[in-house]
Symmetry: C2
Subunit: 596 residues, 2 copies
């Protein structure tokens, strides 16, 4: 990529550049009937997954259910044109819905404005090539966040399984109120919810244990396996459909033991400008105030959306042997959100579950998304009246089964074994996410940043040698390490009596900033004042260039450690010369101290 | 120091520990008459500098002049007991006065509360050993700040030289209004101000050119040189005294062409609790609200105070061959501010100018400060009525001469030559400091932090070798670099056709976090999937430990690069084996690519 960028000016408006911006141009000319076949099957399968999930996630986001579907089709069309991964499907996801519920006050107006603004921010980030910002979100932070999110989202649905109402949004209050009012559980909802859960878990387990279909087997066995596979893959749709039928039967019989989704506006969403102000009964909230109220959401939502999409795209690209372009993904998602806000979508991102379904069914190009998008539009146009009968408990079961596997209990044990210090950002993120998602992420990023800076500010320094001291920083020297390094030099060389000459082995130093140069200049002066020398060895060419251009007084450099030792040997008395000549690096180790 | 800390538990309440907390115990038992002699001279000289400076800096801080003196004595006494540097003198300084004027709304109540809270924060930081935070303020940020401060403080005094009134505080408005109203210049102030400036510049120039007094010379020559030296050293006091006499003469003659300091309350400040609320004519501002109004000042003032003191202490410690303890300095300054707030002091810090005077006059112990403190108290007790006659223009000249040398024009040229990238934090700090001091510092720290993180996120990676690829990160791999590294490996090894085996030379990698381990695990999997190998070589022992504990699938390690090459040689066909055997690291360079 860096290479491509460097060469970019030459072919700014070439067909290649257009292809990079519209990856559809790469695969469309080669599109074949065989691909169409696979894409059709994958598109339909994903469609059967996305419709019930969309209804359920809208519930998580605290919005009316139709908004889930409004958010599910734009991504399919835009990604088909701009996406660089064949597998990724954009749409509503559990985590994004959780974020929307935290930032949009359960109000569609705010949610749609958030979509529009997130789209603009993501587009801008894509155009400015800011995708690299994601590099600063460390793995433990992501793990802590997803694990906490899986718990909060799951628990958020317990109230729907139990048929409880008016439970507050905040996690701790939710836990408290859910347990306090557990006696108010509605039997119908609870039975249906648990049954749906059991069915979903059972179908998923079956899917994991289907043996590969082999051509030598009987047709009847192959067909029965195909049915099981289809049922397991479309299990969300089946469970919701079945629960809806049960609820409908009860309705026809005149009783209704379930809490239902209820009235859903019929038809496609209007195509209109996103709301730039909010008119209430007796006042108008202007744009600036709405933006202020969205607050941190304007940073968290675009970044998390980006993070999810790119993490998923990279995972599947690696699995299926292709490369994605993070900045192009950013553009695709930005445009999806920007255009989505015109059709009342809430912010979308890449969905792990549906992307996995897409990949498993053997999708060949992003064209599969077109089929999914059309299915969603058809549902909106013709099926919304049927959504009335979908029991909320069934949707809750769908969500719980989708997010529960995101909880990674093993990560705590793994980190304890591999790198205990990384438990800190994990634990901070995990715990704070129960309080507020954004605090968790921000605190986790800060903690991992502080740990990183600590590593840089306190580099390991190996000190060895008799007579002349050999000082070897184990990693680069950057400005936060200067004072520490000077202290170490004082302690080991200047504060000794008599003061000792030092060879500074710069093998591991790959860059040097001005503060470090100044620190070394001061050290050189102090060494001169005490009548001892500080010699540099093994400087890399560009680092040497920096030091030379600083005109340091008394600066001495030897290309290699051996030459530096020889150079010092000449100035030393016999005994220490012998010691130095004999001292290979390994021999020095026993007398050495390791500072950190 | 780290060593001392490690051994601390053993001797927690020993005499040594008490000595560390009260460094006075180290030098007092050895105090001699000869030391007393030097300390006396130094104390008086510093006293003659601090009195006029204190009056002038109070003006910069936007407070009545007596507050400058109120702030000048506590530091002398406390530092005598707790300080670890013989040279440092704590008291009002130009930069701290500028900060106080920015945060304390020109209101003594806020200034004293700020002193109290800063003292508490500094004490807490000292007790928590947080002195290391200063490491994150890079040299270009400090240079940018001091250069900008020298300009703003100097220009702030131009209005006093010209005798202009009611000029706004904000720098840009100040420049505009000063030039717009330059016609209103009062002739008396302007003439006196410029005369004082000329006198100060002349005396300083003389001081620089006095030859060393030699014993062989005539007594008369030696005495005249001593007089010149004394006049040059106490030039601030002389100029202010002379200007005061001129003003007094005019007053006696019945006319007054100068703007005078005016009435100053007689006597020592009351010893009382710092103000925890502010009572105005018709309302009371409670503590919480005052704290809120002080805002960022509560971070900037303690940190900058700390920064100035420690920078100065380190500079003189290095010059005079002793070591200071940053955390003990922090305690000394914290206690000075804490106690100072009981005697109406505004925040103080180490003064570069007076510390230099102290060192030059040959002070031997911090006892010199006692003399200075007593001189200030005497001035407060008996001389305040005389302060009435001090012309403001004379004080302005004193300030301008004190801060002008802080402007370092050469730094821009030096950075251009040595490290161009560091011009960015310098320029950002320098320019933003004209707007608001704290924005400048914070932005500078952020920019230098971002540059540092960029270096870490985009390490140089040397790629060389034919057949088997040799990949050598030039510095450590930390989590922000993982994606970049994976991209590089894809581009150079996996995306090649056919995919290439890689030896990853980890010589420069001194630590590894979990995100990097996961990235390497993913890479190992991808290499296996393509049927090529990724071999690690030259891992440091503790890094190897981390990788082993992560149970990476397909992990292979050779202790040295040579063994790794041999190990691969066995699996390779003849031609590439020969190439690798012949390829020393230097020989590989011509065919290598350097990624950044």
């Amino acid at each position: 990529m860096a290479e491509q960028d460097r060469a970019a000016p030459e072919r700014c408006c070439s067909y290649h550049t257009v292809q990079r911006r519209f990856p559809v141009l790469r695969w469309l000319p080669q599109y074949s009937l065989q691909w169409l076949q696979f894409d059709l099957v994958a598109g339909v399968t994903v469609g059967l997954t996305v419709v019930p999930q969309a209804l359920a996630y809208a519930e998580v986001a605290g919005l009316p259910v139709q908004y889930g579907l409004y958010s599910s089709f734009m991504g399919c069309f835009v990604y088909c044109l701009l996406g660089t991964s064949k597998d990724v499907t954009l749409g509503p996801t559990a985590i994004m819905s959780l974020l929307v519920s935290a930032y949009a006050f359960h109000d569609p107006t705010y949610a749609i404005l958030l979509t529009f603004l997130s789209g603009c921010i993501q587009l801008a980030m894509g155009l400015l090539h800011l995708g690299f910002l994601l590099d600063f979100i460390a793995c433990p932070v992501i793990k802590g966040f997803t694990s906490a999110a899986s718990i909060t989202i799951s628990f958020n649905q317990v109230k729907n399984i139990l048929g409880l109402r008016d439970i507050p949004r905040q996690f701790f209050l939710q836990v408290y109120h859910t347990f306090r009012r557990i006696g108010e559980t509605r039997a119908g909802d609870a039975v249906l919810g648990l049954a749906c859960l059991a069915a979903l878990v059972g179908l998923r387990a079956m899917k994991c244990h289907i043996p590969r279909i082999r051509r030598v087997e009987l047709v009847s066995i192959r067909i029965s396996r195909l049915i099981v596979w289809a049922a397991a893959t479309a299990r969300n749709a089946l469970v919701v459909l079945f629960a809806g039928l049960v609820a409908y039967s009860f309705q026809v019989m005149g009783s209704q033991p379930f809490t239902l989704t209820g009235e859903t506006p019929q038809g496609l969403p209007p195509f209109q400008l996103p709301p730039f102000f909010k008119a209430t009964a007796n006042s108008t909230v202007p744009f600036s105030e709405m933006v202020q109220e969205l607050g941190a959401g304007l940073a968290v939502v675009p970044l998390m959306g980006l993070l999810e999409t790119i993490a998923i795209a990279k995972a599947f690209a690696s699995q299926n042997n292709y490369r994605i372009d993070p900045n192009q993904e950013l553009l695709a998602m930005g445009l999806t959100n920007l255009l989505g806000s015109f059709v009342s979508s809430y912010p979308v991102t890449g969905s792990f579950g549906r992307t996995a379904v897409n990949a498993q069914t053997g999708v060949c190009t992003p064209a599969g998304g077109l089929i999914t998008g059309i299915l969603v539009l058809l549902s909106l146009a013709y099926l919304t009246s049927l959504f009335y009968y979908i029991p909320k408990a069934a949707l809750a079961a769908v969500i719980i089964c989708a997010v529960a596997p995101m909880f990674d209990a093993g990560i705590f044990r793994t980190l304890w074994r591999v790198k205990r210090l990384d438990l800190l950002p994990l634990a901070v993120t995990f715990l704070l996410c129960f309080w507020e998602v954004q605090y968790g992420i921000v605190a986790g990023v800060l903690v991992s940043g502080v740990l990183l800076l600590y590593t840089i500010a306190r580099p390991r320094i190996k000190v060895s040698g008799q007579g002349v001291l050999l000082v070897q920083p184990a990693s680069g020297l950057h400005f936060p390490a200067v004072e520490f390094f000077r202290d170490a030099m004082h302690r080991w060389a200047l504060a000794a009596s008599p003061p000792r000459c030092v060879i500074l082995d710069c093998t591991h130093i790959s860059s040097m900033d001005y503060t470090v140069v100044m620190g070394l200049a001061d050290l050189l002066q102090e060494f001169q004042r005490r009548g001892v020398t500080l010699t540099f060895s093994a400087l890399q060419a560009h680092v040497l260039q920096v030091l030379l251009s600083a005109d340091l007084e008394g600066f001495q450099h030897f290309p290699s450690l051996e030459e530096a030792e020889k150079g010092h040997g000449v100035d030393l008395d016999g005994s220490s010369r012998v010691l130095l000549y004999n001292a290979s690096r390994e021999n020095m180790l026993p007398t050495s101290g390791l500072i950190q």
